[in-house]
Symmetry: C2
Subunit: 587 residues, 2 copies
């Protein structure tokens, strides 16, 4: 367990050792020589050697000026950059444990991440957040953990594992391991001064720690109001114009890599300013395991944003110095004496391939690929009985019934259809698939059901316990038999993703840690995830950009506008209504 | 007394009022309309109106979009800028009280200043710092007070009013009103790990508050060492090259207006970077009262630096957003919702003439010009008996003596001369003037004496209790009679500056508050200071850049290299020796 940062730098005689080494009175612990330093302060790439003492950079000096060092690292032909800082993400999206995630991105040069453990909190409550803080203190790189602000994100419309009110958050925000209030998603609550959300934001502000935002689609008076409420950042950029208005509103921007299609226009817009604003930072937000394994984390964002035309040094500054200043961490973000020796030695500033990584003064060695055993506390199974196919049928008495439907993935709309019945059950209307959600915590309630239209033709089922934001067991399918097989497979796996066709499990990714992540090594999880995705390509017919595999994970996100199915029924965020059955009456 | 900032913004229902006003549900308290906003984030100057609620900016919106406001301010044709932030200064240099200083600069658009009450501390000790913090809490603008780190600045070489060791600073740094450790001047102490200075810096770092620097002349290994020790800023820029190496070292730069001759080259150097670094801030450091009255404070720096070629928006950003980020004050530094309504409405971005100033949401009215009565606590006179002319003669027995001399102002050197004696006293050597320093706190010791060469021909005397850094009573003169008249005049005035010729006081500026500042209004102090300066032009023959009136205030600065006269004698910072008399022996 480390001392709380940045105080750790004042421990023992570290400063004296660094000063002595800087003056040449003592050798360095580590000397990086022969490379160029990416100076994100002046914007120059200049030949310089870097002397490190303990976790500190002691000296940045002309090439070859010093040779006395306990260890050396040849950086010839390479660029020594500050370690990357990812200003907003959910580790859970990568379906691996915090340690596994951090090892993966650290090897790529990401030395600091800002983590909102929103999913663990929604499932496991305070215990989940406490566990997250513990994981952060044991992590191989720096995790700045935030207090999830929206547990649940749709109060009254779903059953989550916990309910964080202002009192809860006051406690959590006082923990030293908590570095701020995580993305405030309930924007309406903030700007209409709904007491619960107002109280939560007030606690965030009173803590003196930053309040991170989620200002999706806000503009004009509503944007002014949201920012005036005390929120200081946003990662929910939807267009170049939206980016501009958020910058002008004074928000720190966490420009995210997860919405790649927006990045080229954003880069172009940023180029139209006299300079890239220093309030621009970069983040990943959500990265699926196969993408993490194949492409990386924030390093991949840097690579893409540079490819789209942002000068590399500007992109690098956003990912380092700007982020450090936003976070109030003057010990981070630059290759300069007195700062922390978090360094990424990149092949160049185009591929950003990390040839070596120094974290807190220590060169990172080869990663091991063993399972992470640190998660027993949250690996306790789901509170669910086994399922029969009748669980995934909708009861109805009369011969023909009017049923409510949820039309179109992602931007959902209410619809209505007439359906026939057989044996006391509704036959799904033409062109629909069935969705079911059941409380994962063992409330004992039957699955709630909905008919989805606009999801194409399915030949099988998909079950997931990753289902935003309450992560109840969620099943989609063309028939009740496959749905039951999928649900039982996930129950047996204690959570995860399963693709089923013809009564047989075609692919399965067990996620036994809180039903959200796996303890297995990243390549294994990435492989299993890719296999599930591939199996689903056979079961469903996707049609980007909205009818995609990813949409399955957001179909229960009841805080968004339009109808969504949760464990309580079909919800409507605008009216607050909940339909416990899609059957509206006799046709 | 205000609530501690920035927490004050969370008091009562301020946020709700601001949010409601932003959405149009309630009127603003104040609406600035018709102007352009200087957007230091994006670098744009764009037409926009600004709605203010209490101390908060609630809305920045398109021109004319709103009209509902309790009060309005017509900004047509003008530029609405963030209030200016001066990142390093000593109010004492302006010889007026904190309130008077703040009123003067606030009217010019300077809403925040970072004050090192170094002079008050050296004279009045902890009581002086406590008083400074109290003055800050009552000030008309925002004073961020720092804990003076170098009291005394030359331990063992002078008698100051106090001695702040690490234990003292630990206490002071814990006060909520103290925002950091002020400029660490004892650079040698830092990099040679002298225990006293090391302990002081350690307390600064342990407090979690920033440690401000003074890295005069440091480069290469010594600069690396000084920065590695934990110091994070510097204002002692001596050249464009020095500026570059300090920026590369990762220091925040407080580029100061007090050394105007350096600014053009610095501006040129900054233009050679791809962009002006975001670690650049601006400060005044020291401004004499006549300059303050005539030209202003940080607004004048902005004016000059722009005239020397820095794009106005870049200069303005350095003086606002960059400073706010350096200070960790996310509520300051930009015209944006949710930030503090510290606004300067400038005529344009060339003259930077403040047509209106809003501080904490309140428009600043006309200043009154009454004396500031808040300083009784520190206006207690000097502990000095009256002087006779024999006090300013150097005793010697023999007929001819060898005497040590201090050669050249500012960059002093040791010299030696042969002098005759008369009546038991040394006759000042050819081409010298006499300098005397006496402990102002009533130690009862006789004045210590020195002969200065290279100061030209004098016809009279000058006495000052502003005499860095211990501010003991300091007298310069061509003859003992005038010196005694000057010293007695200052004793009667309880401190200040006096110019004397032919046995008569030609000009006097009383500075009865700690012998450093006056309670009178700025125009009066500026006028009296100018009169003293003018009188001194008749008494001395100046020869810039070093033989100037200003040099009188630094002739006792014993921490600098070379010989300096203090109340203990002629000191040598390098050897630590002190000569109690300039007489070396018989010739």
């Amino acid at each position: 367990m480390r001392l709380e940062e940045p105080r750790d730098l004042e421990a023992g005689n570290l400063r004296t050792r660094a000063v002595d080494a800087a003056r040449g009175a003592k050798p360095f612990d580590l000397l990086l020589h022969g490379g160029c330093v990416a100076d994100v302060i002046t914007g120059q790439i200049r030949p310089a050697d870097v002397g490190v003492v303990g976790p500190l950079i002691a000296s940045v000096h002309p090439p070859g000026a010093r040779h006395d060092s306990r260890a050396t690292l040849n950086a010839a032909g390479k660029v020594i950059a500050p370690g990357l800082i990812d200003t907003h993400l959910h580790i859970e999206s990568s379906m691996v444990t915090p340690r596994t995630y951090c090892e993966a991105v650290l090897a790529r040069g990401v030395t600091t991440i800002v983590w909102d453990p929103h999913e663990f909190a929604n499932v496991c409550g305070i215990e989940g957040v406490r566990w997250a803080v513990k994981q952060a203190s044991d992590a191989p790189n720096r995790i700045l953990t935030l207090a999830p602000s929206c547990v649940p994100s749709a109060p009254g419309l779903e059953t989550t594992g916990a309910d964080f009110d202002a009192d809860t958050l006051r406690d959590v925000l006082a923990w030293p391991g908590i570095k701020g209030l995580a993305e405030v998603m309930d924007m309406r609550g903030v700007i209409t001064r709904e007491p619960r959300m107002m109280g939560i934001v007030r606690e965030g502000l009173a803590s003196g720690k930053p309040v991170f935002g989620h200002a999706r689609g806000l503009s004009g008076p509503d944007l002014n109001a949201y920012v005036a409420a005390g929120v200081t950042s946003d990662h929910e950029i939807t267009s170049a114009e939206d980016l501009g208005s958020k910058l002008e509103a004074g928000l720190f921007i966490e420009l995210r890599g997860s919405h790649d299609h927006l990045l080229p226009a954003c880069v172009e817009a940023l180029a139209s300013y006299p300079r890239v604003p220093q309030t621009l930072t970069l983040c990943t937000d959500d990265v699926f395991p196969d993408d993490l394994w194949r492409a990386g984390g924030l390093d991949d964002v840097l690579r893409r944003i540079t490819r789209y035309g942002m000068p590399a040094i500007e992109a690098l500054r956003a990912a380092t110095l700007n982020a450090a200043l936003r976070l109030g961490r003057h010990d981070l973000g630059a290759v300069a004496p007195g700062r922390r020796a978090d360094l990424a030695v990149f092949s160049d500033l185009r591929d950003f391939r990390a040839e070596a990584v120094i974290f807190n003064g220590v060169e990172i060695g080869a990663r091991d690929s063993r399972p992470d055993q640190s998660c027993d506390q949250l690996a306790r199974g789901l509170g669910l009985r086994s399922f029969g196919s009748e669980d995934f049928l909708v009861r109805a008495d009369s011969g023909r019934v009017r049923v409510a439907t949820i039309d179109e993935p992602r931007f959902t709309r209410w619809g209505e259809a007439v359906a026939s019945t057989a044996g006391g059950y509704v036959r799904p209307p033409e062109g629909s698939i069935t969705m079911a959600v059941v409380n994962r915590h063992g409330a004992g309630t039957a699955p709630r059901m909905a008919f989805l239209r606009g999801w194409g033709a399915w030949r099988g089922a998909f079950c997931t316990t990753v289902s935003h934001d309450s992560h109840n067991l969620t099943v989609f399918g063309s028939n009740a038999t496959d749905m039951a097989v999928a649900a039982n497979a996930i129950r047996a796996a204690r959570g995860g993703l399963a693709a089923v066709a013809d009564g047989r499990v075609r692919a399965l990714l067990p996620l036994p840690v809180a039903g959200l992540v796996s303890e297995q090594p990243l390549p294994d999880v990435a492989g299993a995830f890719a296999a599930v995705k591939e199996a689903m390509d056979q079961i469903a017919t996707w049609k980007p950009p909205y009818r995609v595999f990813k949409a399955c994970f957001g179909a229960s996100l009841a805080c968004n506008p339009g109808p969504h199915l949760t464990d309580l029924g079909i919800t409507d965020a605008e009216t607050g209504n909940v339909l416990t059955s899609p059957v509206l009456g006799a046709a």
